[in-house]
């Protein structure tokens, strides 16, 4: 159908509302592209929470103290909660969790590529909490002001928990860094491996980020990739100093003129490889998620059948 005048005026009114900083709510009219962009973004965020349970879940049964085990179990459970909460936000846009899960396990929708790196030692649990949750907070704080109401509200709640996770990760690393020589080395090795991938979490540089302009106009995205990355670096460098751990970047130094830290070039080829499926764990992460879904099918089916029988019993009574 060709666009009519009324479509154009609706588009205009929508943009005006956005410009006036009004949030978009599920029942409001919205351009189809806004809706589909929002669905994709929220779904990918939800998938990231769920896939993100795997690298850390990898260490629950081996956690080196019962206290740390409890903290980690609770954290991974929080991530499941974030996933659920975000799938619910996506559902306000007329899609179902089932369809989105299908898109994830068939590789048609993505998740944050950071989770395609393996957790090789216990220190990786700390590095993920500190750096990956730290980067997530930087991203998500900006998203608390995103234009789609249910997503923005989900971010407020999720950010509170993420900052716990970040503090716990920092504390875990701090204990290792001040611990035995082997523990310190373990912590440094983890930071060496997670630093650059954490910087990649903010996405490609602004000059190569095709979706940014429209997303900024619709206020889906409020701060650009490069600005968020800079915020994260500025926040994290002093924390690394407090941890007595080095960040693996010889070009990292304070720049008085810019009032920011300068940092070295990111290996975008590595980013492209991991995003396009060639990271260490891409296949493994999806296989685990798919197996859980397939192995659980008979359980969900039984629950549905039982539910059905209960409600027909109630209506017969």
């Amino acid at each position: 159908m060709p666009p009519t005048n009324s479509d154009e005026s609706r588009d205009l009114a929508f943009q005006e509302a956005i410009d006036a900083d009004r949030t978009v709510e599920p029942r409001d009219w919205m351009p189809e592209r806004y809706r589909s962009t929002m669905v994709r973004q929220i779904a990918q965020h939800a998938h990231s929470e769920i896939i993100g349970m795997q690298p850390e879940g990898n260490w629950i049964t081996r956690a080196p103290s019962l206290r740390r085990k409890a903290i980690l179990l609770a954290k991974v459970q929080d991530e499941a909660g974030h996933g659920l909460y975000l799938y619910a936000a996506a559902e306000t846009l007329g899609v179902e969790r089932r369809e989105l899960t299908e898109l994830l396990i068939t590789g048609r929708q993505k998740y944050s590529s950071i989770f395609n790196y393996p957790t090789l030692t216990w220190a990786d649990v700390g590095a993920i909490g500190w750096l990956v949750d730290g980067a997530a907070i930087t991203n998500q704080l900006a998203l608390t002001k995103t234009s789609y109401g249910p997503y923005a509200r989900a971010m407020v709640r999720i950010c509170r928990e993420e900052s716990f996770h970040q503090r716990q990760g920092f504390e875990l690393l701090s204990e290792l860094s001040r611990g035995t020589a082997a523990q310190h080395e373990m912590a440094q090795d983890a930071v060496n491996r997670w630093w650059w991938p954490a910087l990649m979490m903010f996405g490609p540089p602004d000059t190569e980020s095709p979706n940014t302009a429209q997303s900024m106009a619709w206020k889906i995205k409020r701060v650009s990739n490069d600005d968020l990355r800079q915020r994260f670096v500025d926040m994290t460098v002093p924390q690394a100093q407090a941890l007595a751990l080095d960040l693996p970047d010889p070009q990292l130094r304070w720049n008085d003129a810019r009032d920011h830290y300068d940092f070295g070039p990111i290996d975008w080829e590595e980013f492209r490889q991991v995003v396009s499926g060639h990271g260490a764990c891409n296949a493994q992460r999806i296989a685990v998620r798919r197996a859980a879904d397939e192995d659980g099918a008979w359980v969900r089916e039984a629950a549905r059948a039982w539910e059905g029988r209960q409600s027909s019993r109630t209506s017969a009574a």
């Binding site: 769920i50 349970m53 795997q54 879940g57 629950i60 049964t61 081996r62 956690a63 080196p64 103290s65 019962l66 206290r67 740390r68 085990k69 409890a70 179990l73 609770a74 991974v76 459970q77 499941a80 909660g81 996933g83 659920l84 799938y87 216990w122 875990l172 204990e175 290792l176 611990g179 035995t180 082997a182 523990q183 685990v288 998620r289 197996a291 859980a292 192995d295 659980g296 099918a297 008979w298 359980v299 969900r300 089916e301 039984a302 629950a303 549905r304 059948a305 039982w306 539910e307 029988r309």
Partner: protein
């Protein structure tokens, strides 16, 4: 032997707390193994809740058990070999499918709730305090397991078949629940814990009535396995402990 509070020997308190603590620790580990493998996200949350509750109980009980000789919860969790673990055989059984996991939970949590109710009213104040908190958690675990056993028992042909198999698989390990060690019997004589024989009838009744509702029944063969409380375990526990303990043991003097 040293007499402790309420006439209970320290060695008996230690052994009772250790057995109950090991039940919680080992079952918590099994439940945590479900992480990222649960049949749906809601269940991912629920299984983690169960695991966390049990881990919390394990920590309190092990701390109490270690008090007498100054060993802390981590020392007890990470530095004992399987012959020194006193948990029931039931809780160390592998997760199997979701029907096995929920059946194991039903059999154990129903027992644990009854036991905690008795212990919460018992004469040993620290055991009573742990039980009073634990009983609310156990109640929720029982509710959760009952709901799933009903759904699976009365769901589809496949889920019903899997439930029957799970019951056959786990029933042999239920005898041990009601076999007191010598320490347990002495603690029961002092009123610190309930006599296990007093729990068997309400336990069986609770499970039997649920199964009857779900077109299921208690297997016709007798339960015969036991030995966990005395440190004679199945082959499974050694593997579980190897995984749980290896990192801690690799850094003997580290703190985490």
């Amino acid at each position: 032997m040293t007499a402790g509070v309420a006439g209970l020997w320290v060695v008996d308190l230690r052994e009772v707390a250790l057995g109950l603590g090991d039940d919680c620790l080992v079952l918590s580990h099994r439940l945590a193994e479900w992480t990222t493998h649960a049949p749906e996200l809601e269940e991912e949350m629920a299984l983690a809740n169960l695991a966390l509750d049990l881990l919390g109980q394990a920590r309190s009980l092990l701390t109490l058990a270690g008090e007498a000789d100054g060993r802390d919860e981590d020392h007890l969790a990470y530095w004992r070999d399987d012959r020194d673990f006193h948990n029931l055989l039931l809780v160390e059984q592998p997760n199997g499918d979701f029907a096995v996991t929920m059946t194991r939970q039903l059999l154990f949590s129903t027992f644990q709730e009854l036991l905690y109710r008795g212990m919460a009213a018992g004469t040993e104040p620290r055991l009573a305090a742990i039980a009073a908190k634990g009983v609310m958690e156990a109640r929720y675990h029982v509710e959760h397991a009952r709901l799933w056993v009903q759904r699976l028992g009365g769901g589809t042909e496949e889920s019903h078949r899997r439930m029957c198999r799970a019951l056959d698989l786990l029933w042999p390990y239920t005898r041990e629940l009601f076999e007191p060690t010598e320490s347990w019997s002495r603690a029961a004589d002092q009123g610190a814990v309930p006599p296990l024989s007093s729990l068997e009838e309400p336990w069986r009744h609770s499970i039997e009535s649920l199964l009857a509702d779900s077109d299921l029944e208690i297997p016709g063969f007798p339960a015969w396995q036991s030995g966990g409380r005395l440190g004679r375990h199945s082959e499974h526990l050694g593997h579980l402990l190897a995984e749980m303990q290896h990192l801690h043991r690799s850094h003997p003097n580290a703190s985490w």
